[in-house]
């Protein structure tokens, strides 16, 4: 089906701060959905709670705006219930890598077919600027006025260690590039992580547009980089002098939902439940 970005527009306009990196992510997601020709009612955009998560209201598809840190379990269930749906999840770094860490790890293990966009601004936006798990050491915030003393976590390395099957990083400042990554992620059959550098112009004065422009480069631009090589991907993930963006790693393995023994057909949503016969079951207990 031929679709354009307009098909994903909403009347309500985002209330993000002017210049917020989330605008670029929103644009890229709408563009990717349009490019892939996925009809709006066949996509569910699941989100946690945070500035970035509000995006669920500003892309015109089914939306499920859940709890802080809890986007992945409901998203998993959506996919399990109806694998015909395209499931995209969006949430902040605090949401996904902080409070939501347990679900993040276990969802990767399961290789559920979904695309997870982490709006990584290295700060808690919606609660006004506290430190997150990806904030730099020394980051001064209202909750760490003397500077954060935790080692920032490396989501790409983590995803690789967990055996994730599509591991990428984007930058909200490069919408075209990000669009391609999202397209690839949605097409990928399995769990796809896109960690997205997203400048928070209001609360993060360190990881700014300028910072990311200066410190990132594209993996595609590196000759011979092979996203099928796990070791290389891990080495890239651990690079700190410059930060690569692009597709780090991609592999194929069966998704959870295609192996589920409870699955009878394509979608359980259509199952006829009007008169299920439990007599054989009862007889087992006699």
């Amino acid at each position: 089906m031929t679709l354009t970005v307009k098909d994903f527009d909403t009347c309500a306009k985002p209330d993000w701060c002017p210049g917020c990196g989330n605008f670029g992510i929103q644009a890229a997601l709408k563009q990717a959905l349009a490019n892939l020709g996925i009809e709006p009612h066949k996509t569910v955009l699941v989100a946690g709670i945070g500035c970035g998560s509000k995006m669920a209201h500003w892309v015109d598809v089914y939306g499920l705006h859940t709890l802080h840190g809890r986007s992945l379990p409901p998203a998993t269930a959506v996919k399990f219930a109806n694998p015909e749906l395209t499931v995209v999840v969006a949430g902040g770094d605090g949401d996904g890598y902080g409070i939501g860490m347990g679900h993040f790890i276990h969802t990767m293990r399961r290789n559920v077919d979904m695309t997870y966009l982490v709006q990584n601004n290295m700060v808690y936006g919606l609660t006004k600027g506290q430190t997150t798990p990806t904030s730099a050491k020394g980051f001064k915030t209202p909750s760490t006025p003397f500077g954060s003393i935790e080692e920032p976590l490396n989501p790409i390395a983590l995803a690789l260690a967990m055996g994730a099957t599509y591991v990428a990083r984007g930058f909200s400042g490069d919408v075209m590039h990000l669009t391609k990554l999202i397209e690839g992620a949605i097409k990928h059959k399995g769990f796809a992580l896109i960690d997205i550098f997203q400048p928070c112009v209001t609360f993060n004065k360190i990881n700014t547009y300028a910072y990311f422009m200066q410190n990132t480069y594209k993996l595609e631009d590196e000759k011979g980089y092979d996203a099928g090589d796990w070791e290389k991907a891990m080495a890239k993930a651990r690079q700190t002098d410059k930060l690569p963006i692009g597709l780090f790693f991609k592999t194929e393995r069966p998704t959870y939902e295609e192996q589920d023994p409870g699955r009878t057909g394509e979608s359980l949503v259509d199952a006829d439940i009007s008169d299920i016969d439990v007599r054989p079951l009862m007889e087992k207990f006699m």
Binding site: V46, H57, A77, V278
Partner: protein, 616 residues
């Protein structure tokens, strides 16, 4: 000679198949056409602690074990230490002097039957593992039971393990049977006599009943994290996942379980989770999400003694007020407390209908005593059970509503600034948002809105845990907030109208009225009979629906009673508190128990009589 009225116990070390032996014995009752009740008590460890399983058989329906035993099968010495004095006069016990390395003196009026269980197991059963079966054979020998039925049960039970295992067990049982016949003849004063008529009863736990009810209701999604005593719900559903086409997910934790259930409900599946108090604690945030998103779901809390980890394998009714108020803020929920094995089936089925009709979470409160006891239960009558999905729309219905709304929408688009959602209620008859999406949270008379699910064309909406307008988009105005709070609250009014009000069980004119919920209800029904035999008329007010609450009816009934006694397995009398809150009525007395064990009928009788005698 006492026929077909027996309390039998097997006791031994944890990890040595005490419960499956109990199960075999219970099946002997079922196949004999008798009523059966079996209660397992075990500590929270895997091996070595003391386990016991009490099976009561009778020609009348039984709801609870007795404190006195007629026949005790002691698989180890500790069992005798703990239970010898619980045997009735005329009763007996089977033990293995050789294995225990000591003789045992029988209390007065009680007969000890020394049976070399271990030796027989090794010889006839080809291994110590059949020792329990020898004991069952010996028990049935004393009871003069029909061994062909037992053989049948053993064949069925061990079929999966291969023919050899079956043969060994049959041989072991026979050897035990023969040994007592030969050495003790027909001396024992209790007998079991299979009834002639064939009766179709199941031997099930309340957890089994809930699962059957859920499957009958079309539950297609279960997400759960193991926790005693709710794990068997997960296990049951997992075992039947393939046959019934159900997605059953053992999740990373209870938070994920409840969140997944919300996701599945949102996507249109009937979904359920089960847990016990500790897991429920982790679910309360997502419970509130279901309330706000108006997603139907069913959550079973099989209670165990708290606080915190508490006594994981024992029983209590300590979570009532918690379940009623769990999660921040105010939203409607339905809380149901089945009081019998049958009710667990029928009310679980209803729970799914209620959840979808009123688009809210339904909590079922059970407890370990029901959940893990077995009871002979008539086959459930599923005739007339109707799956009702409330205002869940089909694609055709969406198309129709959309067509009808076109005109209204046109007008609205002129009136409403293009960049804002609605604030408050849209025009009657309009189901479309400014985005041309569906007004999923449309305000209707009864507070329940027509519902679409993802994948449906023209049904798009955003479900949000923030306060939202009819379309699901965010707004913070006071006007909208008030409307939405009232809309959600209204759903309980409709639910209350639909739920049957409680009625008195037993004699209207009783001297004593018990007020109870959940598993003590069964025991109380027996107590009422026992009291009647002693000339005390008693009746029972069972409360099944905790929320919404039948304030008017309960208040009227209780105010018309002579003497009311709240009976609960907790320390605070939580139902009594709820009744006071709603009706202003305080029960006259409370019989509470919080030791982690269920009431027995005689204990209840004694405590009731003590209250009567004290007061009058």
């Amino acid at each position: 000679m006492q026929t077909n009225d027996l309390t039998w116990m097997i006791g031994g070390e944890a990890g040595f198949g005490i419960q499956s032996a109990g199960h075999i014995f219970a099946m002997c009752g079922i196949r004999a056409g008798l009523h059966v009740f079996g209660n397992a008590e075990y500590p929270s460890l895997i091996r070595g602690g003391h386990n016991s399983d009490v099976i009561r058989l009778s020609e009348k329906e039984v709801h609870i074990h007795k404190e006195k035993l007629d026949l005790l099968l002691a698989m180890n010495k500790e069992t005798l230490d703990m239970h010898l004095n619980e045997i009735v006069e005329g009763g007996g016990f089977i033990y293995d002097a050789e294995a225990f390395k000591e003789e045992v003196a029988a209390p007065k009026g009680v007969t000890g039957f020394n049976v070399p269980l271990k030796k027989i197991a090794l010889e006839s059963g080809k291994g110590d593992i059949t020792r329990n079966t020898v004991g069952i054979g010996a028990s049935l020998g004393l009871l003069d039971y029909d061994m062909t039925i037992l053989n049948d049960i053993l064949t069925h039970m061990f079929a999966k393990k291969g023919e050899e295992v079956v043969a060994n067990n049959i041989a072991a049982a026979k050897a035990g049977y023969d040994f007592v016949k030969k050495n003790y003849g027909d001396a024992f004063g209790f007998k079991l006599k299979p009834l002639n008529k064939k009766i179709d009863r199941m031997l099930i736990t309340a957890n089994d009943a809930i699962c059957m009810g859920a499957l009958k209701a079309g539950c297609k999604f279960v997400a759960e994290y193991p926790m005693t005593p709710s794990s068997s719900i997960l296990h049951f559903m997992a075992a039947h996942a393939k046959d019934y086409g159900v997605i059953v997910k053992h999740t990373e934790d209870e938070i994920a379980a409840m969140n997944m259930v919300v996701g599945a409900g949102f996507t249109g599946l009937r979904a359920m989770t089960g847990t016990s108090g500790g897991g429920f604690s982790l679910m309360v945030e997502a419970l509130g999400m279901a309330g706000m998103l108006e997603v139907p779901l069913v959550c079973v809390n099989v209670q165990r003694p708290g606080p915190s980890t508490g006594l994981p394998t024992r029983t209590e009714q300590g979570d009532l007020l918690f379940a009623l108020h769990a999660s921040q803020g105010e939203f409607p929920r339905i809380v149901i407390a089945p009081g019998s094995f049958e009710e667990n089936f029928y009310l679980a089925f209803d729970a799914f209908n209620l959840a979808e009709k009123f688009q809210l979470p339904v909590i079922i409160l059970s407890d370990k005593h029901m959940a893990e006891s077995v009871k002979s239960t008539e086959m459930f009558d599923t005739k007339g059970m109707k799956v009702e999905r409330g205002k869940l729309l089909s694609q055709e219905q969406i198309d129709e509503l959309r067509a009808k709304s076109e005109a209204a929408l046109k007008k609205l688009k002129q009136e409403t600034p293009a960049d804002r959602g609605f604030n408050g209620a849209s025009a009657e008859g309009n189901y479309l948002s400014v985005d041309n999406n569906f007004l999923r949270y449309k305000i209707e008379e009864d507070g329940v809105s027509p519902r679409t699910i993802p994948g449906m064309k023209g049904g798009i909406y955003r479900a949000a845990t923030d306060e939202h307008d009819e379309s699901g988009d965010l707004t913070e105005t006071e006007e909208n907030r008030n409307l939405m709070v009232e809309k959600r609250a209204k759903k309980l009014e409709g639910a209350l109208r639909e739920l049957p009000a409680p009625v008195l069980y037993g004699d209207k004119d009783a001297e004593v009225t018990f007020v109870a919920w959940g598993s003590p209800v069964g025991a109380l029904k027996e107590v009422i009979e026992i009291l009647a035999a002693e000339g005390v008329k008693a009746n029972l007010l069972q409360i099944t629906y905790m929320c919404p609450f039948h304030t008017k009816e309960v208040g009227e009934i209780l105010r018309g009673c002579k003497r009311t006694i709240g009976v609960e397995m907790n320390g605070e009398g939580q139902l009594c508190s709820l009744i006071a809150e709603k009706t202003g009525y305080f029960v006259n007395d409370k019989i509470l128990k919080y030791s982690g064990r269920q009431f027995t009928a005689h204990e209840l009788k004694d405590r009731t009589m003590a209250l009567i005698n004290k007061k009058s």
